[in-house]
Symmetry: C2
């Protein structure tokens, strides 16, 4: 029982290979602050970045081609962590 | 002739509605620095952010669905500006 509880509450963040908000700030500080920030479009090209929002996400729930591995929790389910998600022009 | 030169050299940045690197740093500083930064996947879900690179881009050259409006210059063509482009897990 205790083992099970520990498993549920183990922090999920160490599973992530990507950058934190703090990492990203440190990297961006090395570039020209007047340069536009862009992301790749779904099929190609580059889109501008419009802003950011926070959302609870569950980790490693998608495996289908074209889908990011993480997603919104199902209704009533608990998020693994709160992520900051980038909003771009088209999405 | 001078009019034409002025047109070619007019800065393109004011056409952009998106955020600069400096804007993004200021926004990100309002969030928990330990939160992961994510972007939406091509078809859904969220991907982690791996890093950034700079690249010359030409503005407003793509109109096809699913493509960002900006793109790499053709071989030998001049870029309109240098953008900082985000690299995510899958793209």
């Amino acid at each position: 029982m205790l083992d099970l509880l520990e498993k549920r509450h183990a922090p999920k963040a160490p599973e992530l290979a990507g950058l934190t908000v703090g990492d990203v700030i440190a990297m961006l500080e090395t570039f020209d602050p007047s340069a536009p920030l862009m992301v790749q479009g779904e099929s190609g090209g580059f889109e501008e970045v419009l802003g950011f929002r926070t959302t609870g996400v569950v980790l490693n729930v998608n495996t289908a081609e074209g889908f990011g591995p993480h997603d919104l929790p199902d209704d009533g389910a608990r998020a693994d962590l709160v992520a900051v998600v980038l909003r771009s022009t088209e999405r």
